[in-house]
Amino acid sequence: MADLMADPAPILEMEGIDKVFPGVVALDGASLRVAAGEVHAVVGQNGAGKSTLIKILNGAYRRDGGTIVLDGRAVDFHNPLEAQRAGVSTIYQEINLVPHRSIAENILMGREPQRWGFLDRARMHRDAAAVLGRLGVRLDVRRPLSTLNIANQQMVAIARAISTEARIVIMDEPTSSLDEREVEVLFDVIRGLKANGIAVIYISHRLDELYAVCDRVTIMRDGQTIDERPVAGVNKVELVARMLGKEIGEVRRSGATGFGQPGTRTPGELLVEVNGLSGERLDGANVTVRSGEIVGLAGLLGSGRTEVARAVFGADPAHGELRVRGKPVRWRSPRDAIRAGFGLCVEDRKADGIIPHMSVRENLTLAVLPALSRHGIVDSAEQRAIVDRFIDRLAIKTAGPEQKIRELSGGNQQKVLLARWLCLNPSLLLLDEPTRGIDVGAKAEIQGLIDELADDGLGVLMISSELEELTEGADRVVVLREGRTVAELDHAAASQDTVMHAMAHGDGAGSRELEAGSE
């Protein structure tokens, strides 16, 4: 939107930034322009390239191509320290300060005032207090940092940033651990930075915050910058649509996915009922799943989708009511949920799914081992039979059962992980982004398989960031926003527009809205 760039000369211009990781193009000609004294939001779905772009700016990564112009000078940072010296400071969610040193030491670390070669403690404390004072924060600067709450630690981090004469302060999810009042204080500080001519690059998944504090927004998708405009000039639905790569009003039923005919199945018994789930990132989520249906779970990143699935599976503690076939239950660990016939396919297969050094055979049968064993001894003939059957049935492309799972492609790894549950004859599968990072062919296969399983009576809770998967695959779509269930749309009502609208505004236009606690 070059025509809108009539405002003051940008302090930062990143153009045509490329970054390739082995096997993944993270950035493909991305750009970012920020004016002095501007609060600039960067938004995008998971994998859009926001973090990579920021890390290139602050020197954590080297770019593969493109230019960075800071204050009219081309720069090339080799490490975060260089970036900091040039005036680019980053405040991370987990704050990178030294917990056991005092506030003053943290603010002035590496630049401690000296007198005759000795540390001038009095001046250090004065200087530190002065910097905090500029933020309107009053703290005893001699206290160890570790005695402060997260919000105040963040203030110290910001104080450190401005004391290094930062021109640009990058805030990556700064509010994720703050309560409402603390968020207000942070916003006041941000406005103060702005008034002092400091540019703030603000990354957050909470759209309301963008409207509260940001001037402009850069929207990223698939490693590219797809839009840049004043926040006031874009409404939330439009913003979400741009992030997901959809046009408003676009209603597509193209059959782009491998799903069959959702909405035509007759769901069976009520398998799982979750009421008022709260905890980390959760604030009153309600979900039900019946046997023989696919329930889509929609929401922006950070809306609590993954947390719902993990809580239902007993992987993380959460408060709220969990009923299985009508009976209230309390899982102590995933083992309990597995015994009840549940299975969870995680989003990050490498971190939480595969056992990399183990073979396809062992990964596939890990959950079924107790059933395969007598007196703790694995029946290897039966194990082999199960593995062969599922390699065949799911068409897993592997050199053989003894191949290491890490050597398989993403799609085939996912099939092995699905088989890990299917060989247990589960009643409910929780699928977190089941087709993320999987090539197109395998994707349709996996979607077709999920569909088939639901036809056979399996209950499926499917989390997806891809609207097609939800609108074409799910019998029902539950929409989460900031940890709360905000809409539930049946297949007919779940169009890309209604789902996006609910994700952005917290209500489903033309659908029944849910009061907290109902259903």
Partner: protein, 356 residues
């Protein structure tokens, strides 16, 4: 920076790609399966090294091929192998057990208490049984303490087991006032039977060698063929994924420290039977490091998730034979240590290529 795992719910946007579509190892293997010497070294390196050492000794060491030499070497290596088997289980889960030497000392001071008087427990045979069972039970319980610190306490294994590394030998010394006890001063008629563990012969073979072989075979089988064995490797390979697949990760970790304690107890009894005496300050000294060295030379990476019991056995034999060869050729002890250190470095370097 900024993407350390476990820090809140932060998720890096682009971490590493989920999976390489083609594995370089796989390609490498298929390219030159026959002529891939590097691959062979990696796969059978420790076994090859053992064969080389044996061949070298057969050629250059007089009287190497005698039953006496074989027995001497196997006898000396037995306690290390037994402890290293337990260590292999612990390391397979990604942990380490520094307390094994001290636990051996605890077993060593407990056993003689049951042999001081033939009539103490009604019958001498009961005293003998207790002299064997009670120390092993005690070290197993101390192993359970390690396991509890790691699982319930959430301590790093190296710190958790450092506690008993220090305190365990202290306990042993306190129990006997730091004094060396000599079996010939004991009253129980069962003392010769007890010493049989270390000094007897069954068909020309020392009993502890038989114990060692049995333990190696059982452990290798447990690791390969039982649910528990698979759980151990899954826990070490990816604890988070294992938990989500229903593996009782904490129970598994707890169990491996119990096993390690159990085996350390057996090794402690063998040492005092060989020595005919129990010295709380020397039994099992440096055993933790010797056992770790055997595990590493045998090809089990310290990162967990992969383990080979047979490799550990071979690793211990390599170190033993190296030491024997050098001593047999009158190489000074200092040089011997340096050469053994070199062998460990070589093993680790070979491993690094394997796991990369």
């Amino acid at each position: 920076m900024g993407t350390e795992p476990g820090a809140g719910s932060w998720k890096p946007e682009v971490s590493e790609p989920l999976t390489p579509q083609s594995d370089p190892d796989a390609t490498r293997r298929s390219v030159a399966a026959g002529a891939d010497i590097a691959g062979l070294v990696r796969r059978y390196g420790s076994f090859g090294a053992l064969v080389l050492l044996v061949v070298y000794n057969v050629v250059f060491t007089p009287n190497f091929l005698s039953l006496g030499t074989l027995n001497a070497n196997l006898t000396q290596v037995a306690t290390i192998v037994i402890v290293a088997v337990g260590m292999t289980f612990v390391i397979a889960t990604g942990g380490v057990d520094l307390s094994v030497g001290s636990l051996m000392a605890i077993a060593a001071v407990l056993a003689p208490m049951f042999l001081v008087d033939g009539e103490q427990f009604g019958a001498p045979a009961i005293g003998l049984m207790l002299a064997i069972i009670a120390p092993i039970l005690a070290t197993t319980l101390f192993g359970a303490f390690n396991g509890a610190l790691v699982t319930i306490g959430g301590l790093q294994p190296i710190i958790a087991t450092l506690v008993l590394f220090l305190a365990g030998r202290g306990f042993a010394q306190v129990i006997v006032n730091g004094e060396l006890q000599e079996f010939r001063n004991f009253g129980s008629p069962m003392v010769p039977n007890f010493l049989f563990i270390g000094l007897g012969e069954i068909a020309g073979i020392r009993p502890q060698v038989i114990v060692m072989v049995v333990i190696v075979l059982i452990a290798a089988w447990v690791l390969r063929a039982t649910t528990f064995g698979r759980y151990v490797l899954a826990t070490g390979g990816n604890a988070s994924a294992a938990r989500l697949a229903g593996v009782p990760v904490n129970q598994v970790k707890f169990a491996v420290y119990c096993i390690s304690g159990f085996l350390a107890g057996i090794a402690g009894l063998i040492v005092i039977a060989i020595n005919r005496s129990s010295d709380p300050s020397s039994v099992g000294e440096l055993m933790e490091l010797n056992a770790i060295a055997a595990v590493v030379v045998g090809g089990t990476p310290l990162t967990g998730g992969q383990a080979t019991i047979l490799g550990t056995f071979i690793g211990a034999l390599i170190i033993q034979l190296l030491r024997f060869s050098l001593i047999a050729h009158n190489i000074p002890d200092g040089i011997t240590r340096i050469v053994i250190a070199g062998a460990i470095v070589a093993a680790v370097l070979a491993q690094r290529q394997r796991t990369s």
